[in-house]
């Protein structure tokens, strides 16, 4: 063999790369219950499909004769692979090499991963641990100078973390302690998952302790903190579950904004009518009910994939299928403030509608919204500004839209149920009710003089309430065509499947005018 010596050298260098940060560091990773980056990539990808790029990039040592003695690989491992048969870019931090920090990364590697996703129009999954290639204080000594974040003339990596949100599906997996740039790369995604033993923070406990907060990793950035704050979408027990979530999320999406979401054969009857829906909403208006079983009942069986469950909880968001076609589902959860939109909820709605718009997913909204949240805390958190922002997201989106008014539609948030400037489909359940203001409290405001003048104000209030209640039957609204259709709730699935079929040819496999933000 003419090039035998060189081939052997290549294999030797690859072997160094496979050793990562060395046996001790690998053992420490395993002892902590975590996979190494190479195990992660192999587990996530379809078996044998991972093709690595730049494995032998790293820091080499040579003897006096110039022969290679050692090679510490870069702590960024990336390449392409298939997930359920579809190509994607995988990029992972190797925590066994300098805790994943920048001085061992070779910045061009994570940058090329992002660029490859962008230019080859492929989803990217970031497997993040440590500072995610971010700087460490040590860098000052190794480079002999302090780094001005952002560099000269702009930063390639931050450019692509922004660009890719409007180009390809981006999934972030936080597996371990994730800080600084790692946290930024995790949060700047369409969907993020962490394991419950992981933590994410801008800066970890030692930095925070210097500011007087003595907290453990878990207390500072554990899963309960991050999923409730909306920093991370989902938390799971094991890394394998995190990989399953990533794959499932991607299964509903096109590989890039230049394609349409893939449809699959539907094994559930599109005409299925679920008798339970007739009893799903209680007659007693003060009583709440479970929305998730309603979602499960109307979409293709087993297809609902919830995202961001712990944040902005008066709205449930997730992906699902109708007659095999992928759709974005929003639904109210009356267990949280009766389904009222808090500022958190509004932020969740904005991000979710933007996701649907970016990837050409028709939206289904199962609505039960008594309004924007009211009260001092609601005012303090600028609910109305976040609320009109959510309405703007709805009004600016161009994907097909269908709303089912399940129960309440009140106030300004009551108007936030369909894009304002174009036609969408809308159906009201028999249990639907609406108004500019709830009668309770609304009567006191509007009929103040009449009530005050009455001999028995309480009786007067009750009398007015009874009078108005008679008038607010949804059938009276339908008489004047203020609601176009009232339906038997059991018809919901057939009608939604019909909507998905109608929506099919309206989707356009081209970038939206919207430029998505995290």
């Amino acid at each position: 063999m003419v090039w035998q010596a060189e081939l052997e050298e290549l294999r030797r260098r690859e072997e160094f790369a496979r050793r990562m940060g060395g046996a001790d560091k690998v053992k420490r990773q395993h002892d902590a219950g975590r996979l190494t980056v190479r195990e992660r990539v192999e587990t996530l990808a379809d078996p044998g499909s991972f093709h690595e790029i730049g494995a032998i990039a790293g820091r080499a040592g040579y003897d006096a004769e110039g022969r290679l003695t050692e090679l510490t690989p870069s702590n960024c491992v990336f390449g392409r692979a298939t997930l359920d048969g579809r190509p994607a870019v995988l990029v992972g931090d190797d925590f066994t090499v300098r805790g994943g920090s920048a001085d061992a990364t070779i910045r061009e590697k994570p940058l090329m991963a992002e660029r490859m996703a962008n230019e080859f129009q492929l989803p990217i999954i970031r497997i993040i641990e440590g500072s995610g290639g971010g700087g460490s204080v040590k860098t000052i000594e190794t480079t002999g100078r302090a780094n001005l974040p952002g560099g000269v003339g702009g930063t390639g990596l931050f450019n692509y973390t922004t660009l890719n949100l409007s180009a390809v599906p981006v999934v972030g997996l936080g597996l371990g302690s994730v800080a600084g740039l790692g946290a930024a790369r995790l949060a700047s995604s369409h969907y993020s998952v962490m394991t419950k033993s992981s933590a994410m923070f801008v800066a970890g406990p030692p930095v925070v302790a210097r500011l007087g907060e003595d907290l453990s990793k878990e207390q500072l950035g554990g899963w309960e903190i991050q999923t409730r704050s909306g920093g991370v979408d989902h938390a799971v027990e094991t890394e394998e579950e995190a990989f399953a979530c990533a794959r499932r999320f991607l299964s509903y999406l096109p590989s890039s904004v230049h394609g349409l979401p893939p449809a699959i054969p539907c094994e559930d009857d599109p005409g299925r009518r679920d008798e339970k829906l007739m009893a799903a909403v209680p007659r007693d208006r003060r009583r709440v009910y479970q929305m998730r079983p309603i979602i499960e009942s109307v979409v293709d069986r087993g297809s609902f994939f919830e995202m961001g469950k712990m944040f902005g909880r008066s709205i449930i968001t997730g992906l699902a299928r109708l007659d095999g076609r992928a759709v974005a589902v929003m639904a109210s959860d009356p267990f949280f403030y009766g389904g009222s939109w808090t500022s958190d909820t509004c932020q969740k709605v904005v991000r979710f509608i933007d996701l649907a718009e970016t990837f050409h997913l028709p939206v289904v909204y199962l609505m039960d919204c008594p309004g924007f949240m009211v009260g001092l805390e609601a005012e303090r958190s600028a609910t109305i500004r976040h609320g009109v922002r959510a309405m703007a997201a709805m009004n600016q989106c161009t994907v097909p839209w269908c709303t089912i008014v399940v129960r309440n539609a009140f106030g300004v948030a009551g108007a936030a149920h369909q894009p304002a400037g174009r036609l969408s489909l809308r159906y009201a359940w028999l249990s639907a009710r609406w108004g500019s203001l709830p009668l309770e409290g609304g009567i006191e405001a509007a009929y103040r003089a009449e009530i005050d003048a009455a001999e028995d104000p309480a009786a007067k209030l009750a009398e007015i309430e009874a009078r108005l209640n008679q008038l607010r039957s949804p059938f009276r609204t339908a008489e004047t065509f203020w609601i176009e259709e009232i339906i038997d709730p059991r018809e919901t699935r057939p009608l939604l499947c019909d909507f998905a079929r109608l929506a099919d040819p309206l989707r356009r496999p081209e970038p939206s005018r919207l430029q998505m933000r995290p």
């Binding site: 208006r285 009583r287 909880r313 267990f335 009766g338 008594p370 949240m373 309770e440």
Partner: protein, 73 residues
């Protein structure tokens, strides 16, 4: 199993205590009802057991995440 806390998921006023101390509850049973936006929102038992203590009274304002009752076996 030892004592477990029951937390309110939302900030709201306590409307009604449904299961006082000593009551046996199954997972999902309402221990108390909160009132928010004119609706009654149950605070449910996270597991089956006996209500050991209810730490709030009707009319109290509770915060999201606040422990409102405890369960024991």
């Amino acid at each position: 199993m030892a004592e477990s806390p029951v937390k309110a998921e939302i900030t709201a006023a306590v409307w009604k205590i449904e299961a006082g101390p000593g009551t046996r509850v199954a997972e999902g049973d309402a221990i108390l009802l909160l009132e928010s936006m004119k609706m009654e929102i149950p605070v449910a038992a996270p597991r089956s057991g006996r209500v050991k203590a209810v730490l709030v009274a009707e009319g109290d304002l509770v915060e999201e995440g606040q422990v409102v009752a405890t369960l024991e076996d």
